[in-house]
């Protein structure tokens, strides 16, 4: 009987390895297919700077943009922050911040100190939108096209290389799609108007 107890460590470790095996094929830098090319999940969350103003998924439409998940407790966010500033300032990239499971005062202080690259920042204190998006950890950056459709998810720090090789081409794509989409939208809206008038 006592001998059987000695097998416990082996079983625990083997269970852990089984988990690793499952995880290893799953590259966290790639988004799960389920969420790709789907609209940003519906949400209504206060802004970081002005708690009275509530943002929704509608605010993520109109232009292709990067939604950047960040928090003051995340060291890598600090690493990528200067580059985000550069993207916003020099390349004119539309950046939206998703402040994830953070403290409002600390987050505001962070932006005051390090600079604010974001058009606006949504304050997701409980991580609800993060959960719906499937945030793996901070930092993460989503490419959202003009229609509010998630095109890509990047896990980890955004730097020159990631931008040039991955994000920039996707942003351009989203830009071209935007015009196509706009056309269909016009048709749809005219269609519905016709329907209403008839």
């Amino acid at each position: 009987m006592r001998r059987l107890i000695l097998f416990v460590p082996l079983l625990v470790i083997m269970a852990m390895f089984f988990l690793f095996q499952q995880m290893i094929d799953h590259d966290p830098t790639e988004m799960e297919l389920a969420r790709k090319d789907k609209p940003v999940p519906a949400f209504a969350l206060p802004g970081l700077r002005n708690p009275e103003r509530f943002f929704t998924q509608e605010d993520l439409k109109g232009k292709p943009m990067l939604v950047n998940v960040w928090a003051t407790w995340c060291p890598s966010c600090r690493v990528e922050h200067p580059y985000l500033l550069k993207l916003a300032k020099e390349k004119g990239v539309q950046l939206v911040g998703l402040n994830y499971k953070d403290d409002r005062t600390a987050a505001l202080e962070w932006l005051d100190k390090l600079g604010d690259p974001y058009v606006f920042t949504v304050f997701d204190e409980e991580g609800r939108l993060g959960l719906d998006l499937g945030v793996y950890g901070a930092p993460e950056t989503y490419v959202v096209d003009a229609e509010g459709i998630i095109r890509y998810r990047h896990v980890g720090v955004v730097n020159e290389k990631v931008w040039n090789e991955v994000l920039a081409p996707l942003m351009e794509d989203s830009g071209t799609r935007e015009s196509e989409v706009k056309d269909t939208r016009v048709n749809e809206s005219t269609g519905s108007e016709q329907g209403a008038s008839s």
């Binding site: 460590p9 082996l10 470790i13 690793f20 590259d27 499937g134 793996y136 950890g137 020159e160």
Partner: protein, 671 residues
């Protein structure tokens, strides 16, 4: 040509590893002394070959041979020569080669310093280390070969070493840390060898003790160097981030600390045998797990520059074979007979058991915090665990551990006379509490966690000091008495004091750092914590492989005297186009002044971060004391005597040693 020679030496080294892990083990199994004797020369040959391979790669770096892919990816002709050397382990392939070099180095060291061990034990230990090495060499040769070339056309110049790694701290941090990680393989090999040979007595504990302590010392220093490096190189003055890779190095350290203490019990008293063996396996497994977590890319972190998901499967297979195999062996061979050696609930055995339990809980806390996001994701939830969780858990565990330590110092083996331990508590509390309360008052603001941190640090220091006072009593005076205590005792004292010093540093710097972000132009003066920071000028600077802005900031103290002038820089590394912050630091025993440049905000104006970090040096000072303590303990006389002692007399020796130590402790207690 050099790369090919290096590659060839590596393959030969791999062949030696195969021989080393078969011939001596089979020899030990069949009782063939000739086969067993081959283990030492094979271990030496393996080391020389891997060393040759490592030198070849270093030479490729020094000679700027950019036709070698790994060199092209991690070096550049503009890089200063010392960074070309450290660039050898700046990437994945090279750091694995360094790992293999250190592993074969430890194997060779065991071969050299094991003259007093029975031959079958030596054969088994070296054989097991050879087995581990096979795995790593295979990994290097199959998936991460640093000697591959770009043929026929090679790049003109290299892509440069990651600027974060172009730094003195990174020249020394990885080798030290690896010495620790890999050093635990010796304790692991001894444990597996003891299981294989069915000789799980006090002797194996005694043999693996010094090796474990040395590995632990290196690991301590390696972690401290990493923390120091992050502090000054990442440019914002943080020293610990609970980053997965840091956690990966902390886990084997915690388990290794438990192992050191548990080995003491097994050696001196012959109890906890199965537990100590399991702990030895567990400690090295955590070292391997650390490698896996870093290499596989299943965890993303600041250290992401060394990850690659494609190699994960291979490391995982390696882990399953090594850890799974040794745990299976453990389950089949560990002794299940209940030991008849008794000890009371006030004995030193119990205190060290508590130490082990708490350190294991701490290890599992870190493991859980690192793994939980993975497990949750597998179950379909998304969570991330941050610093608040770890701080909360350690804010609870560390005080409990240290309070028990303070009392445990006075305990004796087998049993401590009733009441002695309780009598120690009031004086300790009477000294610790006022000191703990006065510190927040001196520092200017009251925080409960500061009181707790200072209380346990003083508690441990006073407990150690009182014990030293009692043990150093001698007719020739205290100093002579202290000098006459054994080196392992001195080592323990230093190790425990080192922990207290680190706790002081961690507590004070966490709570009393003053941080100010200001816009500064030439002439601007800002005040932080009583110091005047005067921005003198800012100018361009041309480095060997970067261009940068360098500011001169003069610091005056309260009396208007110049303390120092700091030169923080903002560098742009030309080849990789990376921007780096080089902080200006004025170090001091009681405080660091830390200045880093943010972004330019005007013609001559910069956003500047000014920080006052009290007692931050104590963090690393404590680690140095712990390392020193560990090395001192290994230099103890009994290990030198051990080498001379013949192996036949061994069991007699241990018996005598046990008797001696038992009487020694009683005598110490009586004094």
């Amino acid at each position: 040509m050099i790369a090919e020679l290096g590659h060839y030496a590596l393959i030969l080294g791999f062949c030696f590893a195969i021989l080393l892990s078969t011939i001596p083990l089979v020899g030990a199994w069949m009782g063939d002394r000739v086969w067993m004797r081959l283990s030492r020369p094979l271990a030496g040959g393996q080391f020389i070959l891997v060393l040759g391979s490592f030198c070849a790669l270093s030479l490729n770096f020094l000679l700027d041979d950019f036709s070698v892919q790994y060199v092209a990816g991690n070096s550049n002709s503009l890089l200063p020569w010392y960074y070309k050397i450290s660039a050898v382990w700046g990437g994945h392939e090279g750091s694995l080669l360094l790992w293999a070099l250190i592993l074969t180095g430890w194997t060779a060291a065991v071969a050299k310093f094991s003259k007093s061990l029975p031959l079958d034990m030596v054969a088994r230990v070296l054989g097991v280390m050879g087995l581990v090495n096979i795995g790593f060499m295979l990994f290097i040769l199959m998936t991460s070969n640093p000697f591959l070339r770009y043929l026929p056309s090679s790049p003109q110049d290299g892509a440069d070493l990651n600027p974060l790694l172009q730094d003195f701290g990174l020249i020394v941090h990885p080798p030290m840390l690896y010495m620790g990680y890999v050093g635990f393989s010796v304790a692991f090999a001894f444990a597996v060898a003891a299981l294989l040979g069915g000789r799980l007595d006090a002797a194996w504990a005694r043999w693996s003790r010094p090796w474990t302590t040395v590995a632990w010392s290196f690991q301590t220093l390696g972690i401290a160097l990493g923390s120091w490096w992050a502090y000054y190189e990442l440019g914002w003055g943080g020293w610990w981030f609970w980053d997965p890779v840091e956690n990966a190095s902390l886990m084997p350290w915690l388990a290794g600390t438990a192992l050191m203490h548990s080995l003491a019990v097994t050696e001196k008293r012959g109890v906890f045998k199965s537990w100590t063996v399991l702990l030895a396996i567990f400690t090295f497994s955590l070292s391997l797990l650390g490698t896996f977590l870093v290499r596989s890319g299943i965890l993303t972190s600041v250290h992401a520059f060394a990850s690659d998901p494609e190699r994960g499967s291979f490391v995982l297979a390696l882990l399953i074979v090594t850890i799974g195999g040794s745990l299976l062996l453990y389950a089949l061979r560990a002794p299940v007979v209940k030991s008849h050696i008794g000890f009371s609930e006030r004995s030193r055995e119990i205190f060290l058991l508590l130490n082990n339990i708490l350190l294991m809980v701490a290890t599992l806390t870190v493991l859980g915090g690192t793994m939980f996001p993975l497990i949750a994701e597998y179950a379909g939830y998304e969570v991330s665990v941050g610093a608040p969780y770890f701080n909360l858990m350690f804010g609870f565990l560390a005080p409990v551990l240290v309070l028990i330590m303070g009392v445990g110092i006075y305990s004796h083996w087998k049993d401590t006379p009733a009441g002695t331990l309780l009598r120690k508590v009031p004086p300790l509390a009477v000294i610790s509490l006022p000191l703990a309360l006065v510190v927040p008052w001196l520092m200017g603001s009251f925080e409960w966690m500061v009181v707790v941190g200072m209380f346990i640090a003083v508690w441990l220091t006073v407990a150690t000091a009182l014990d030293v006072w009692a043990k150093s009593a001698s007719r020739k005076g205290r100093l002579q008495g202290w000098l006459k205590t054994s080196r392992s005792y001195k080592g323990m004292v230093l190790g425990h004091l080192g922990l207290a010093v680190t706790i002081v540093g961690a507590t004070l710097v966490s709570h009393y750092t003053v941080e100010k972000d200001v816009r500064m132009a030439p002439g601007t003066v800002a005040e932080v914590a009583g110091y005047q920071f005067k921005f003198l000028s800012v100018g361009r600077k041309q480095g060997p492989n970067y261009v940068g802005d360098k500011a001169d900031i003069q610091i005056l103290d309260g009396d208007g005297d110049v303390v120092t002038t700091l030169h923080p820089e903002k560098r742009r590394y030309v080849v990789s186009d990376n921007v780096m912050t080089e902080a200006g630091i004025s170090p001091g025993l009681l405080r660091d002044l830390y200045v880093s440049l943010g972004e330019p905000v005007g013609e001559q104006a910069w956003a500047v971060r000014l920080q006052y970090k009290p007692f931050v040096r104590w963090l690393w000072l404590g680690a140095i004391l712990m390392t020193w303590g560990g090395l001192l303990a290994v230099a103890d006389r009994r290990y030198r005597m051990l080498r001379k002692a013949s192996s036949e007399k061994h069991s007699v020796d241990i018996q005598a040693q046990e008797n001696r130590s038992a009487t020694g402790v009683t005598a110490g207690g009586a004094e």
